[in-house]
């Protein structure tokens, strides 16, 4: 390869890295100002007390699609019903489960099919019926179960849930997510405190692997003690406490997680609901909501709150991680093909001029550039042309910067106050941070590129088996998973991830 190619690439990498690092520094500063604002003005106990006794507290609906969740559905629904909030309903959408999910729900909550006048505000697969409880238990009265024909994606099931919710705001979550008891208070507050219309609220999500959960409630949060979920926990925390918080500060949030997020029902319906064909349906939904608000000339806000409100189970091995990241990569590529008209478009304000260019340059293109970087380093190694006197400084700088980011998120997490009870748990984060650049990051680059290639070639997504380990219980340790359970869980997970084909 001619020398000028190496030189040109080196200068390009220096410029690109400088931009990435500057953006990180900017994000850290913006996140700091947002956390400081939150710390100054917000008091969790005070907010909860005010909302608890007020007749003005708005109702919230929780939409949780369930597909082949017979093993966990009862505990998880009970956990959702035990949330602390004066006015909420839980809408479980049984998306044509092949197992006994619906039967178990009917049996345990004394449900009966009611003659419900279903109106399809968002198009979904056919609605089969709606179930309500006959029991006098006031908690059960909050439960609504919607039964529909399987749509193959979480998006379709969520849309059916949106069609029946009765409150202005709804929280979209997965049935196996563990929610913080006060999560709904925390989610609704930004909508009340803002002077602008809040169309979506996102909260920090963490990995539940390694935590102790009793009856679907988080008893003791701990970091995962397995490498892949630990890496992902670190990545999530960094993304929520720095990236999303910083973007929320300037009202340029790119995404509200599909695992846990609150939305304005009216805007979701007007934006057409979740897109079942999208591989990144949550990101796509937020983009369409923003498009609707900007096109109709309305002012809006998408807010990120720093407190941890939800725990979800992370991929336990590389195989599942591969599937998840390939889908994300594919979804990102697909997202830009669908919403390319919003890019550099002034009509879409910060989203068009800041968020989308940022995602394009630093998220979509990053794996390609990194891959080229690996290739160049290998080629230089083969030629023994690496300048060893300087390269160690470059590596050391990047490594120290990565550690600095980790220490910063730990400080933010402690500051926000919803951190691990045991401070020594953070040492796991430090460990993950030390290993991440060598193990997790290169693998993710490869998975993302795989997703891009699949999207370009238009390959049909096929979902592999997902072995769920489950979270630790305070009463009994995590049960071992049989082959049949694993298969059932695999299908459920494929559904949750919006897959087109079953395992």
């Amino acid at each position: 390869m001619p020398e000028w190619v190496y030189d040109a690439f080196s200068y390009f990498v220096i410029a690109y890295s400088s931009m990435v690092l500057s953006s990180y520094v900017l994000f850290v500063i913006l996140a700091f100002t947002e956390h400081k604002k939150h710390y100054t003005y917000h008091d969790d106990d005070y907010t909860i007390e005010e909302l608890k006794k007020s007749p003005y507290t708005p109702g919230i609906s929780i939409v949780a699609p369930a597909y082949n969740e017979e093993k966990t559905v009862i505990t998880n629904v009970q956990s959702l019903l035990s949330l602390d909030y004066p006015d909420f309903e839980v809408v479980i959408v049984n998306d044509g489960s092949k197992d006994k999910t619906l039967e178990l729900l009917i049996e345990n909550f004394d449900l009966v099919k009611v003659p419900y006048a279903y109106v399809e505000k968002i198009k979904t697969k056919p609605f089969r019926g709606l179930y309500k409880t006959r029991s006098d238990n006031p908690a059960f009265k909050r439960l609504t179960v919607v039964d529909k024909v399987n749509g193959g994606t979480k998006a379709d099931a969520s849309n059916a849930g949106v069609n029946v919710v009765s409150n202005k705001f709804f929280v979209c979550t997965d049935v196996d997510c563990v929610l913080e008891k006060n999560a709904l208070y925390r989610m609704i507050w930004p909508t009340m405190a803002s002077t602008r219309r809040v169309i979506a609220v996102s909260a920090t999500m963490r990995m539940s692997n390694g935590s102790i959960v009793e009856d679907g409630k988080m008893v003791e949060p701990h970091p995962p003690h397995e490498l892949i979920p630990l890496f992902q926990d670190l990545e999530y925390t960094r993304s929520f406490l720095i990236g999303k918080t910083a973007l929320s500060r300037i009202n340029a949030m790119q995404n509200v997680s599909g695992g846990f997020g609150m939305f304005d029902r009216e805007v979701v319906i007007k934006a057409g609901g979740y897109d079942g064909d999208s591989f990144a349906e949550d990101m796509d939904m937020v983009a369409r909501m923003i498009r609707y608000m900007c096109d109709s000339g309305e002012d809006y806000r998408v807010v990120q709150i720093p407190e941890t409100c939800c725990w979800t189970e992370g991929p336990p091995n590389f195989k599942v991680l591969n599937r998840q990241r390939t889908r994300w990569g594919r979804g990102l590529f697909q997202f830009f093909t669908v919403h390319r008209d919003m890019l550099w478009n002034r009509n879409y304000r910060q989203y068009g001029m800041l968020t989308l260019p940022y995602i394009l340059i630093f998220e979509l293109l990053a794996p390609v550039i990194e891959f080229l970087g690996y290739f160049m380093v290998l080629s230089l190694l083969v030629q023994w042309a690496i300048n060893w006197n300087t390269i160690w400084i470059a590596f050391l700088g990047l490594y120290v910067f990565a550690q600095l980011l980790t220490v910063t998120i730990i400080s933010y997490d402690v500051w926000v106050g919803t951190s691990f009870k045991r401070r020594r748990d953070y040492l796991w984060f430090v460990l993950a941070s030390l290993l991440e650049p060598f193990i997790y990051h290169p693998i993710n680059v490869f998975f993302s590129l795989r997703g891009y290639v699949k999207q370009i070639l238009g390959t049909q997504m096929v979902w592999g088996n997902m072995t769920r380990k489950g979270v630790q219980s305070a009463k009994k340790p995590a049960a071992s998973t049989s082959v049949a359970e694993a298969k059932s869980a695999a299908e459920a997970d494929a559904h949750k991830e919006g897959g087109k084909a079953d395992a």
Partner: protein, 397 residues
């Protein structure tokens, strides 16, 4: 022999100069990168150390609070729950504070969570005067005064919050300086404080501020303030007067109407009806309709029917609900509801009207049965939906 002591700044300067000259043979990018690495390393070490020190401090602080709680909680509880009015000296004696115990801001801060805990648990049983004197002995009003005047925004806001939470007595003059503060949150806290404890027309500031932004958060907080005033026998504002005053923020007018509805002040209904007759603002009209409906003001029915045909979509829904709530058994109203049910094409309004007819006493049920009999087969599900008791009536109808 002379000794030169370098300042901290000089140390850093020399460090970076050495770094710069040592790496002189390298390209500028490498030199800049080396400086960047050093800065990162320094930041890393300082953040880790800072966090470590902070954790140690907070652990020590919470240990001290626990010690205070163990020592004084029961004594303070005894003071607060004594029915007889106690003198300040008596309270001091009961608390058994050490002779050399000097109450300063740090100690006050440690007493705050203990006092809040005590007030939260025994607010209903305690003697108000003894409680106020206990706070005086612990010099809490002076502490809160100082906190409200401090430079830290968080300290000011937390002080206002704590004053409200433990019913402490803060001088009106201290709070009033922030009634028009630049920071909106601080301004709101001061206004809430004034509204909660003020005696001379405490809501005046709301009516006089032309830049008032009345968010849902304030709606909740001011409602709680009004509730507090009512429960403590304090003077209540003339809410209907807020609506007739000009210029008043529309959100504030809606809030006033909603409060009339929640406090069930039926004596304001006639004035609300006359406001409705002249109202052109949709949201304000909806609030009036909802209030008149919930207060079951029968003379409003005629106006509701008159207004219905020219009303907007959301106003129509409120009118249908309000007519159902008044439920006077007036056959003319029932006839009107039936006619509109036959004419309307909107699904939600139709379901609402059907629900209103269904719940409109005996004649309503009769009309409902007739409508059900005459309805085409595909509408049967709507009638079944209305009749089903398990479905929350908030849904559609």
């Amino acid at each position: 022999m002379e000794y030169y002591v370098l300042s901290r700044y000089a140390y850093w300067k020399y460090y970076f100069l050495i770094l710069y000259y040592r790496l002189q043979e390298f390209p500028p990018a490498v030199r800049v990168w080396a400086i960047f690495t050093s800065i990162c390393l320094l930041l890393l070490i300082s953040i880790v150390l800072g966090n470590f020190i902070r954790v140690l401090h907070s652990a020590a602080d919470s240990r001290t609070i626990d010690r205070y709680r163990e020592k004084y909680y029961e004594r303070m509880k005894e003071v607060a729950l004594t029915a007889r009015n106690l003198e300040l000296t008596e309270i001091s004696a009961m608390l058994k504070l050490p002779k050399n115990f000097k109450m300063h801001a740090k100690q006050n801060r440690r007493f705050v969570p203990i006092l809040l805990d005590l007030y939260r648990h025994y607010a209903d049983e305690m003697s108000k005067s003894n409680w106020q004197r206990l706070l005086q002995v612990l010099k809490m009003p002076a502490y809160f005064d100082e906190q409200v005047r401090s430079r830290s925004m968080r300290k000011r806001i937390i002080a206002f919050k704590n004053v409200a939470d433990m019913d402490a007595n803060l001088k009106e003059a201290v709070a009033s300086r922030y009634l028009f503060a630049k920071d909106r949150k601080l301004q709101n806290m001061a206004r809430l404080h004034a509204a909660r404890f003020g005696t001379s027309y405490p809501f005046k500031v709301l009516l006089e501020d032309p830049n008032l932004v009345f968010t849902d958060e304030l709606v909740i907080k001011f409602h709680n303030v009004l509730l507090y005033r009512m429960e403590n026998g304090m003077s209540m504002p003339n809410l209907i007067h807020w609506c007739s005053k000009t210029p008043v923020n529309e959100e504030l007018r809606i809030f006033a109407i909603n409060e009339i509805r929640l406090f069930r002040r039926k004596e304001d209904c006639a004035e609300m009806l006359s406001m409705l007759q002249n109202s052109r603002e949709e949201r304000f009209s909806c609030a009036l309709i909802q209030a008149l409906g919930e207060l079951e003001y029968v003379p409003a029915e005629k106006e509701f029917c008159r207004r219905y045909l020219s009303a907007s979509f959301s106003e129509r829904q409120e009118l249908a609900k309000a007519l159902g709530l008044i439920n006077s058994g007036n056959p003319e109203v029932l006839k009107f509801l039936e006619e509109d049910f036959m004419q309307t094409t909107d699904y939600v309004t139709r379901m609402l009207l059907l629900r209103t007819i269904y719940n409109y006493g005996k004649p309503g049920r009769k009309t409902y049965e007739r409508l059900k009999k005459d309805a085409p087969a595909e509408f049967a599900i709507y009638f079944e939906h209305i009749e089903c008791e398990l479905i929350d009536s908030r849904r559609y109808a």
